[in-house]
Symmetry: C2
Subunit: 417 residues, 2 copies
């Protein structure tokens, strides 16, 4: 590792980073240590102002693009070099925690300050970005800021989206941008030389393996389906089983077949039936209709394609008595991160003597869109019991600082290539 | 068969019986040919008055007991002999049909009139009873009239039961009794020498076997349980299956085990999971809690006892990851009807050249309580596709008359023993 990278990493201030999480957690605080900070809400605006107040004490240039993504740039020595980027989001789930998203923004900002304090200069500028509306809890879809920034969808597609109160995104966005008039204009799809996002794992793998740093090699692919099984209701006492069209019975046959399909001794494949709606849902009536959800995930493109494509034929075959309708509701191909960026993260963790492991992300992140336009990877830190999207979400000051140190070192490494 | 029994059976008037079903179906008529005639409602009072208006043209004595069960007695030659009883109920499900219950009352009344018209005299009196509140749709529990009449529960237990509008049963009962002041007082638990109840099958067995008469040998036993499976919610993308406490997965393991337990090549055992409630019921959240119902029925006491007793230990064994709580919610032992009464029904069907078969009732009936105090059996007639508790409930005039003929002959047979 470069000596300046090590110096800067050592300047990461655990207490300052923790204190800033606590200050941000006041903005939208809910009972039980949780946070409700919807995208483009007054709490989101307050978080943006707080971040900008910290940035104002440093010599960083500040800009925002047309969807409200906020950029803080620490200059490099080469005025023509494209920046290395880092960041995450500041919005939360309606009953969210104190770390999901905001950690990646604060760790990025801590990295810039640690570089300042270590007197480190880099060839490329380094930019911290706070993406707008990653959670999608108020305005659908999620990961909206990075989606629009990277050109995956045009801005016009989302301006008329409304929240549950009927407020249009374009109005909430205008209010948000007007609240920070000091911010310069930033272009969509402005070039980047690399992107590293730090985030809590939102899963239990690091904690279970007693590792501090997750070197994230990609985001797994996802296939969602609604399976509807339609039979006939009958008296539970009088109708012989052979004459029934029992939608619960056939649903269970389908789920058994899908369980077998997705069986994985390595425990990499994720298979979840999380939603079931039974009609008429009465103890002594045979069910006439069941709707259930299927969620299958895997990091390898071939595997998730094979599993996803098997769902409908298998469901039809397994149902012996009822009609079956299978509707795909979501289809995300796996995202494989850049090997050089992941290697830089791993090398930083190794040199800093932090226990680390490679893993794939189970959840989606803004890094998924950034990977389309520049070399990208992520850093995970442990969260307690893998809990997130919940007030009980928790992480330790030490782990958060360790992730920020790895981020600092890796950013300096990439910014000098 | 006795010659007078055959004569009386031949006097059953198919058209009159059908016409009376149509008249009764006007009282509480709902769209789709259905009936909503709640117990002790103004529609129930109207049905009682209509029945009494028909009885007034005959020389039958009329009485009611303290729960409103209505008795019409055709005298026998032996003033000291206990009566043979027949009947069923006049209340309906909220979305009920035109035959469930009312058929047994009208078939009994038709039998009395056919006897009158054939000039038949019997040694014992024959009594038609209309039981109060068999359905339990307005006031719980069901089969209340026969339950109280036979002493299975005291009247005082049910007087303060309220309906959904907060009306107490005792007030609705007082209104009902006041509406038919001409009715004499009838004692609870007054002795009977036998009871035959005619009813639509509410199942598909007779229709499928192309039989007109079901000789009902008993009512199957029933065991109900609520099974609650408690695990832990997790992110569907991030949590490996080995670390999950997935309440849906364990519920399916339990249902698979119960399916195997109740597997019956003869298709006599009934096993139904009709109700499932999943929490939080979101596609990308592992379920933390599932409640599902288990309904198991079998006519043989040993078998239903074995199956019912196996549910809790099997559920605990099948659940690999979650806590399991099994709560019994209903336990009815099988009711085995009297062989002599069933034989009398079968002999009548045979002599009248009606296609018949023996079967067990899948649903509960007032006959279950009467079987505790006197020799009892039932007669089933087919209903279309086995549908009941539904506006689409249907039966043919010919089948209804055939059942009334068998009832008439069997009543005369028993009333002369």
């Amino acid at each position: 590792m470069r000596e300046d990278a090590r110096n800067a990493a050592n300047n990461v201030n655990e207490q300052r980073l923790w204190q800033r999480h606590a200050e941000m957690a006041q903005l939208g605080a809910i009972p039980g240590n949780g946070v409700n900070r919807a995208a483009l809400s007054k709490e989101d605006i307050a978080a943006r102002k707080l971040l900008l107040s910290w940035a104002a004490k440093r010599n960083y240039s500040i800009s925002a693009d047309g969807i409200g993504n906020l950029f803080l740039r620490r200059a490099g020595t080469d005025a023509n070099a494209t920046p290395i980027m880092t960041g995450s989001h500041m919005d939360s789930q309606p009953r969210g925690g104190r770390f999901d998203g905001i950690y990646g923004v604060l760790a990025g900002f801590e990295a810039l300050e640690a570089m300042d304090e270590a007197g480190v200069v880099t060839r490329r500028p380094i930019e911290v970005v706070a993406w707008t509306n990653e959670e999608g809890g108020r305005f659908a879809p999620c990961t909206m800021g990075s989606m629009v920034f990277t050109g995956a969808r045009p801005l016009a597609d989302v301006l008329d989206v409304t929240d549950n109160e009927g407020i249009k995104l374009k109005d909430a966005l205008a209010d948000t941008l007007a609240a920070t008039p000091q911010v310069a204009k930033h272009d969509f799809k402005s070039p980047a030389a690399g992107y590293i996002e730090a985030h809590i794992e939102q899963g239990p793998l690091l904690e279970n393996a007693r590792k501090t740093i997750g070197v994230v090699t990609g985001i797994q692919g996802l296939r969602w389906f609604n399976v509807e099984v339609s039979g006939k209701t009958d008296h539970a006492g009088t109708t012989p089983l052979a004459l029934r069209k029992d939608a619960v019975r056939d649903s269970i046959a389908i789920i058994n077949a899908l369980t077998e399909l997705t069986h994985d001794p390595k425990d990499v494949t994720r298979f979840t039936v999380g939603r079931m709606l039974v009609t008429p849902n009465s103890p002594n009536s045979v069910a006439s209709h069941v709707l259930f959800s299927v969620d299958i995930r895997h990091p390898e493109p071939q595997t998730i394609a094979r599993l996803g494509d098997a769902v409908e034929p298998l469901a039809r075959k397994a149902a012996k008595f009822c009609e079956v309708k299978v509707t795909p509701t979501l289809h995300d191909d796996p995202c494989v991160f850049d090997a050089n960026v992941a290697d830089a993260v791993e090398a930083a963790a190794k040199t800093l003597n932090l226990p680390h492991m490679r893993l794939s992300s189970g959840a989606s992140h803004d890094a998924m869109y950034m990977a389309r336009i520049c070399p990208t990877a992520m850093i995970f830190v442990p969260c307690e019991k893998g809990i997130s999207h919940n007030e009980a979400e928790n992480a330790t000051p030490g782990d958060l600082a360790a992730g920020a140190r790895v981020l600092t070192a890796a950013l300096i490494e990439l910014a000098n290539r």
